[in-house]
Symmetry: C2
Amino acid sequence: MKHTVTFLPDNVSVIVEDNTNLFKAVKAAGVYVLSSCGGKGNCGKCKVVIKTGTVEGGKTRSFLSAEEAERDYVLACHSRVKSDLTVEIPQESRMQAKHKIATGAKTEEILKLMKQAGGCLESRIHRIYLELPPPTIDDNIADFERVRRALDRAGFSAANLHMNYMMLSKLSRSLREADWKVTVSVFTVTEVLEVLDIFPGNATKTRFGAAVDIGTTTIVVYLVDMTNGHIIGTASTYNSQVKCGDDVISRIVYATERSGLKELQGLVVNNINTLLADLAEKHKIAPGMIDYIVVAGNTTMTHLFYGIDPEHIREEPYIPAATFFPPIRGKSVGLQLSPQAIIYSMPNVASYVGGDITAGVLVSQVHKQDAVSLFIDIGTNGEMVLGNKEWLVTAACSAGPAFEGSGIKFGMRAMEGAIEEVEIDPKTYEVNYRVIGDSKPIGICGSGMIDILAEMYLNNVIDQKGKIREEIGSKRIRRGESGLEFVVAWRVESAINKEIVITEVDLDNLIRAKAAIYAGFATLVSHMGLTFDSIEKLYIAGGFGRYIDVERAIAIGMLPDLPVEKFQFLGNTSIMGAYYGLLCDRLRHEAEEIAHKMTYIELSVSRSFMDEYMSALFLPHTNINAFPTIKKEMARRNRLG
Amino acid sequence: MKHTVTFLPDNVSVIVEDNTNLFKAVKAAGVYVLSSCGGKGNCGKCKVVIKTGTVEGGKTRSFLSAEEAERDYVLACHSRVKSDLTVEIPQESRMQAKHKIATGAKTEEILKLMKQAGGCLESRIHRIYLELPPPTIDDNIADFERVRRALDRAGFSAANLHMNYMMLSKLSRSLREADWKVTVSVFTVTEVLEVLDIFPGNATKTRFGAAVDIGTTTIVVYLVDMTNGHIIGTASTYNSQVKCGDDVISRIVYATERSGLKELQGLVVNNINTLLADLAEKHKIAPGMIDYIVVAGNTTMTHLFYGIDPEHIREEPYIPAATFFPPIRGKSVGLQLSPQAIIYSMPNVASYVGGDITAGVLVSQVHKQDAVSLFIDIGTNGEMVLGNKEWLVTAACSAGPAFEGSGIKFGMRAMEGAIEEVEIDPKTYEVNYRVIGDSKPIGICGSGMIDILAEMYLNNVIDQKGKIREEIGSKRIRRGESGLEFVVAWRVESAINKEIVITEVDLDNLIRAKAAIYAGFATLVSHMGLTFDSIEKLYIAGGFGRYIDVERAIAIGMLPDLPVEKFQFLGNTSIMGAYYGLLCDRLRHEAEEIAHKMTYIELSVSRSFMDEYMSALFLPHTNINAFPTIKKEMARRNRLG
């Protein structure tokens, strides 16, 4: 028996077998529904509303409120289709397309930074225009040798010249059709100079490349004019893999399932193809002229992009297949560019410190400074690097995706409708908030959560353990289905016709997340026998990082209590580092040195980290003396109060 | 309208459209008919007999005798099918499968020669057995890095370690499934150490390779145990490309036609696949264990094997696409071996001096001797190398395929039924001959032609210009359709029910061929300011060469008049050189040095060559003083006569 399932508001239908899992029907229809776990049934995000028809299951009480259950909400992944259906995907379960991903592309600014970092416009791929003397009976060396000789004369060391099969096959024709005036694209691997392509005439002025940041959530592309470093255009999209799981762990699990790896690779490659094709069309560039791509991503994303099984990344002792990936042809992974286009991946360090972090260090220049600085990319994993020009140590704390909305009842990513700033009145406990897009709120994003936690703590709405003080007697405090909760936005204010609350469970999850990040810092610092005082600069990278209010992040004990001027936001250093590596081979090489130099510390088995983590499960910290600013502020407020 | 064409004696039928060229029908049916020109209509070899039915055309008088025409012979390539047909392919137009191609494979002998040449059992591909420590939380480097570290510790310089996409994809699984005890197959390209394959456990004792001689006419394969150099088995076959043309020029022409190149590549690759599969099965070896192949062939054969257009080889200024071919994966050309198997081609020197000649020099050791020696491979082209340890010069004279039977009325290759030795009685002019296989003759092969020419000249049946002296009054001399001819075998003696004759046209063609070879020698020698006396050794290679009677070859002026002890037959040096290169990387490298060192002299535009050639168009030579032995012999015979 088959049923037709129609999804609103897109009005897309799909025909499925009786008893099909509704989450699978969603995927089959190609519509989007939020999900952190990729349909495993344990995140509770894929709420949909059954408008007509019957499903079996789905009314899972641990994830749905009584009110939602009454309003025909079900969890898609817990429901089985039993008849023709009309299913609405409510606003809170939809990906908001309006959110602009920070691409941060200002050519002048980035070029300047790159040059300050010692960069130049000497890419790994060179184009050389050659006017070859046509062969004669007295000069009758093979075509290949003729190219070699010309490259040698042009100053390229072509003793070990290589061409792959495809190039060799077309060599004779290419040279003669262009009347021996050709542009040769070459690439150096160790001592071997490889001819990538041969273009008729002088094609040295039409060279394009792309820098790609493959994030777990978002993908950003820069299309770059390789002759002058100008960013011709930028584009970004959500990583379509999101529908197979929110975080790297659920992606890895998905990848180990039958054809999951191939599917995940296809999704990200398709994203990049689409972004590049759109940019190329918009800027009237033949995609075939793009012949060099540098990608930066975390280790799992890099494996998935290359189509390499990341299975062992998630199991102790956490081993990636590779950290340094060989340059390969774009077509090997399915990229639709020049057939000879080369992909280079910024080098990874370990299973949880990837090419995005190597790129970040390259941009931050931590590795070149006398003073010790700390680089952190706050996301699902807080990856951090501590060091100076002598040494670099790195670690990743699995903070979990709480600040990205996962495990938080009204958590969401920083997109339209998200509460991003919050203030609580110390006396009335009334709440002021700001919503992205200035619309009615549908949830709370990471910076909003930090604000809420900080404000609730500083105003004594919660205690040091994150427990709500019911005794303060605010009407915003009430007992919900999962215990005490605090109403951030009343039903009338919200876009979803219900109160937006923060629960004690949410607070607990946020405190665990911030504790993991802080414990990571503390472990690295003590590992090197240092104290936080010795840190000269603390660089914060990542799309999420740029919206953090540093003082409030210190107040909750997520960031160490250092003077605000020591903090510096760097934006998306992953794409910037990829851009550096694309344009300047010296900096690309420097990134490899950085990756080699970094000592990775596995926190998940570190006793020191566990101790630090336990101590950090308080607001701001068990040892309040580590947070003198907050201690002083609390004392001030208590005096006032 | 369609017709059924049945070919006898194989009794194979094919259905073709009305008006189809009969030669195409032959090819479509997959049966074999002799052809030097590949169906172009200008060699006159593809004679068939129409038993029933009608063809249009085909009775081309310039190629068929009146008698043949009467007996329903037609030239297949000149005939168009007009009805159902029964067509007999007569014996003289059939490839004889019984002829054994000389493979010359005696392990002990060849191994000894290789070692005398400085060879060892250190191939370019190494297998290393590694017992990797399984990863732990304290030793959690990436799988790739673990392999690198182990290779480094095993003494291989793995700073630049490479794996291709396929290897990287299976790396993690391979290591774990083998419980970290693996054998790694590695290959060095310049400074890069490439992992070709990973086998579970210790697989260092099961390594196989193959040496392949790709001749224009025949293909020879050695299957080699790489651990001890033993030749496990040898196999050979005719190059199936023969049906597309006898010589390299007709192959090149064929390759330039639509899909011709692909077809030619497929034919030779299919030949090699079949030979290797048969050998592997016979010796119970999995073809997947063969991971290294070294081929030697002339420049055109190498291009065709790689699928690279040889078009410009045949047009002045005679430019090959490449002389040094990069090592590539066997699967790129369609070889059915280990998917990671590497093919290496012995380096070529120029359009008409190929890897077979480089291999030959390596085997002859011309390049290591103080004294000057001459190496020659007599075939369609007489390729020759003159030199010593200081210098090497090389040239190819387009002798044409006369000695292989082309352009000679009853010419054929050295196969069963070929007259291979001839004596003429000085007084009666009666002929004694020996036939390969001791059967009735169907034609004359190269060594037979040399004998006939020598005997006719020494016994005054022909003059210095090769003109038949009708005045001697032998019944064997008669006027045929193309002028005077000499009957070598009477009709009753032959297997084809007609006289086997040598015509004045044949004699002219043979003199041109021998003149070209001699002129080549003379040009090289005078180019270096030397005389023939300074040549210490003259090495003769090639399957044809081994059957030559040196004294008679001197008598006709094909070889210089040197003492017989200076001549040495080396056999198939192409396959031997490939075998050297397969087993010993030092010798493979030496072959590259040889190829670099050789100075190629283009004879086709050399005035000196033209002069030498004109002078050599006499028997034995215009300057009889250059042939004192023959001068003496003629004087002796004339005194007797």
